[in-house]
């Protein structure tokens, strides 16, 4: 059942993302047509979720939320991170409403929105329970725990090639340029906010390793894509062998669905992203939005997310079949991206421009693509 839904949705999602991309490039941020989850009983209210998150991961959570709130119709609109941010920032500036809940893996953008006064604070027993590093001002909450991993095609990458650290990945690309040229994929940070956030955090972790990795990726003519999904598609198809800076939750969903993919938690450090949820200050149905955010943070919501949506828990619990450190939290390998105003440095226009320019110079302009 689960498998079928995923497979059925994939081409649609892909197409729509492409469509969104085209529109984004045309200068206007547009999302696809919202997916509606009708109220289970008589409809009393509508909750509009605008998300830069795969619907397949969110769907179990929305359905479970509706069991608790049977009179709520949920409309789910999907975006790419940058488009969501652009739309939300514009709505905030105009004082108009964009949805009741914003979900984005690019938490730095949500922090920026909250810093600009575009968020509404949410207080409930559940929000108080959220870890400190995943809660800023009771306005931006991290509701998932998603390690950032390497994903490889088990069939085509020999076991001895599988990198376990960032440095090993850089070395692998340098030592076997023929095997991996044009067959390593990562985010296009010009289009993807989450890609930029992850790359920025990589650069903050170890400057030298990041430099070498960037150089190696450039030399290996790495393939850059807007979204994890596209890279995972190509990995499954065998066109790409190794994916770098992939979100473990999406990758694990593919593994569960039968794809022959391997997932590695880097042993030197593993970035951990906590997907952000925020209620915009102009939300039409702030009440339901607060309930939804509280649900996402509640024990029940977390359990559903860990079982069907994002597969990892705040305690660092790892589902079976993941390579690398078994518990990244206990071994100290985990580097959670703290949801705090420090992320504003990531969102600084000038710094972002320069960072992306450097990245593009190394990765895109060098490759003949």
């Amino acid at each position: 059942m689960k498998l079928r839904t995923t497979l059925l949705h994939l081409p649609v999602v892909g197409l729509c993302l492409l469509w969104a991309l085209i529109l984004a490039m045309a200068g206007t941020a547009h999302a696809e047509v919202p997916k509606t989850f009708p109220a289970l009983q008589t409809e009393h209210e509508v909750l509009s979720v605008h998300a830069a998150t795969d619907l397949s991961a969110m769907e179990p959570l929305i359905r479970d939320f509706q069991i608790l709130n049977p009179n709520t119709r949920v409309e789910f609109t999907e975006y790419v991170t940058n488009d969501l941010y652009a739309a939300a920032a514009k709505a905030c500036q105009d004082g108009s409403a964009l949805g009741d809940v914003l979900l984005s893996s690019s938490v730095d953008q949500l922090v920026k929105l909250a810093n600009d006064g575009c968020a509404r604070d949410v207080r409930s027993p559940e929000t108080v329970m959220a870890p400190r590093w995943a809660n800023w001002r009771n306005e931006v909450f991290g509701f998932t725990f998603e390690p950032v991993v390497f994903v490889y095609n088990r069939e085509k990458v020999p076991a001895e090639d599988v990198p376990s650290t960032h440095l090993e990945l850089a070395d692998l690309l340098r030592l076997k340029p023929e095997a991996y040229r044009g067959r390593v994929g990562t985010y296009d940070i010009r289009q993807s906010g989450i890609g930029y956030l992850l790359a920025f955090n990589d650069s903050q972790q170890t400057t030298t390793t990041y430099g070498r990795l960037l150089e190696s990726l450039g030399r290996a003519q790495a393939v850059v894509r807007c979204c994890t999904g596209e890279i995972l598609d190509e990995l499954e198809a065998g066109r790409i062998l190794i994916g770098y800076n992939m979100l473990a939750s999406y990758a694990y969903a593919r593994v569960r669905a039968g794809a022959d993919l391997g997932i590695v938690m880097p042993a030197d450090y593993t970035l951990v992203l906590s997907r952000g949820a925020m209620v915009p200050s102009q939300a039409r149905n702030a009440n339901a939005a607060a309930r939804f955010v509280s649900y996402l943070l509640s024990a029940r919501g977390q359990e559903v997310a860990q079982r069907d949506g994002f597969f990892f828990g705040f305690g660092g619990e790892t589902p079976p079949g993941i390579e690398g450190a078994s518990s990244i939290v206990q071994t100290g390998v985990a580097r959670p991206i703290t949801i705090s105003p420090a992320l504003l440095a990531v969102q600084d226009d000038e710094r972002r421009r320069r960072f992306i320019a450097d990245w593009s110079r190394s990765l895109v302009e060098m490759s003949p693509e």
């Binding site: 705090s340 504003l344 000038e350 710094r351």
Partner: protein, 460 residues
């Protein structure tokens, strides 16, 4: 009718409470100001630190200004974890290099070398603190001043100021409670002498007209001395009255003596039995009158001396001897055997000798006049803690139901008595801390017993 005044301690406590409350309010306000200043100073340092770090990140590269804002600057500001951060970097031509272009640059002419300027401001509807620092470039390609403006909302500092104030308020409240408790205790303690003076006045003997001698704090002295002045006036009035009675008695005695002499002369004349009987009645009445005058005089004297004359050690035996000598009249219509049973050694008590003698005289006089048929015995006995003077006679005595009555003024109703004698004796003994008692008739006769505290007991 006088309005009921609130008590002194209530007034004091209310006043002190008001003062303490006002003081606490003033201190709380001061604490709030200090706390806010302290919180501002603490967080301003972070703000300035972040501004310096940002200024440091401005560089000239290839002839243009570049900024690569360090994450650490934001981490520094994120130490106040709920506050929002706004910043901008403006080049010499006023172009915003990065950050919030619409953030106002605080107007100040602080010199470049001076400490950076931190001000209160407002941005996006929120109260902020704004720090400004500048960096000067004199590169061939880039010249002039680059301003770095960093603003942060004030939630953390307000929270800190509030917490500091709350702690101060807790201390102030505790201190005020302590002060109030101390004040209540001190007021109670300080007002205690008033109660003492009141008790001393209340517990006084109604006849006591000596000055109040309770030791009092200086503040109460006017009150006590006014009371004493009043007592002195009362006493002089009483003295005047006693004096008047004494004078009157004295004045009456002279014509009485003349009258007696005349009656005496008249009795030597021959006259018919009817006339002689009338004359004898006149003689009796004159005697009665002269005795009354004597007793009034004695009463006035005793009363005058009570409380006015200092008591001193006297020999009771000697007093009794003198009393009997003076009391037993030379002329009596019957023979009375007078016996004295006195100890060989002097028996000392603290007393006024004249008053005491007067008391004993009156008791003897009373016995001779109303009781003793043939026998009168005087005894002085030392009992533990007291001295007894016993006057015993073989007369009919006084029935017990009249004992309490006869010691009151004019309380006895004997046909030829004034009714003052025993009351004078009782007054004297009471003034000496003793008392007057009776012993009912037995084989020896009826006795009046005067008890005085012995000297030993008084010394104790």
């Amino acid at each position: 009718m006088a309005r009921r005044e609130p008590s002194l301690s209530t007034r004091l406590i209310v006043l002190i409470s008001v003062v303490l409350t006002l003081g606490a309010a003033a201190l709380t306000t001061a604490a709030w100001y200090y706390a806010r200043a302290a919180a501002n100073e603490a967080y301003d340092r972070l703000l300035v630190g972040a501004a310096y770090q940002m200024a440091e990140a401005v560089n000239v590269q290839g002839g243009t200004l570049t900024v690569e804002l360090p994450v650490s600057a934001f981490e520094l500001l994120a130490l106040s974890d709920r506050d929002r951060i706004f910043y901008k970097i403006v080049d010499a031509r006023g172009r915003t290099l990065t950050g919030y272009g619409n953030l106002a640059t605080p107007e100040s002419d602080a010199p470049a070398l001076g400490s950076p300027d931190v001000q209160d401001g407002k941005f996006k509807g929120a109260a902020v603190r704004v720090a400004k620092t500048a960096r000067y470039f004199s590169d061939p390609s880039v010249q002039g001043r680059v301003d770095v403006v960093v603003a942060q909302t004030t939630e953390a500092r307000t929270a800190l100021a509030r917490e500091l104030t709350l702690r101060a308020v807790a201390l102030i409240a505790a201190m005020s409670a302590l002060a109030l408790g101390g004040a209540v205790f001190a007021i109670r303690y300080a007002l205690r002498p008033i109660g003492r003076v009141g008790a001393a006045l209340r517990d006084r003997d109604p006849h006591d007209v000596t000055p109040v001698t309770v030791s009092t704090p200086r503040e109460l002295r006017p009150f006590v001395s006014a009371t004493n002045e009043f007592i002195a006036r009362l006493r002089s009035r009483m003295d005047l009255m006693q004096q008047f009675i004494a004078d009157a008695a004295h004045q009456i005695r002279t014509p009485l003596t003349a009258l007696k002499a005349q009656v005496e002369l008249l009795s030597r004349q021959t006259m018919d039995p009817q006339g002689r009987q009338h004359l004898r009645r006149v003689q009796e009445r004159v005697d009665q009158l002269s005795r009354l005058a004597n007793q009034l005089l004695s009463h006035a004297m005793v009363n005058h001396r009570a409380g006015a004359v200092p008591l001193e050690p006297v020999d009771v035996v000697e007093i009794v001897r003198r009393a009997i000598r003076e009391a037993v009249p030379d002329t009596l219509d019957r023979d009375i055997l007078t016996a004295l049973e006195l100890p060989p050694l002097p028996v000392e008590v603290i007393a006024d000798a004249i008053s005491l003698k007067e008391a004993v005289k009156n008791v003897i006089d009373n016995a001779v006049r109303h009781g003793a048929a043939t026998q009168l015995t005087l005894r002085v006995r030392e009992q533990p803690g007291m001295v007894e003077i016993e006057v015993e006679d073989d007369g009919p005595g006084i029935p017990p139901e009249l004992w309490s009555q006869v010691t009151e003024r004019f309380g006895s109703s004997s046909p030829n008595g004034s009714g003052l004698g025993l009351s004078i004796a009782a007054d004297v003994l009471t003034a000496h801390g003793g008392n007057l008692n009776f012993r009912d008739r037995n084989e020896d006769g009826f006795a009046v017993i005067m008890r005085l505290p012995s000297r030993m007991r008084q010394n104790r």
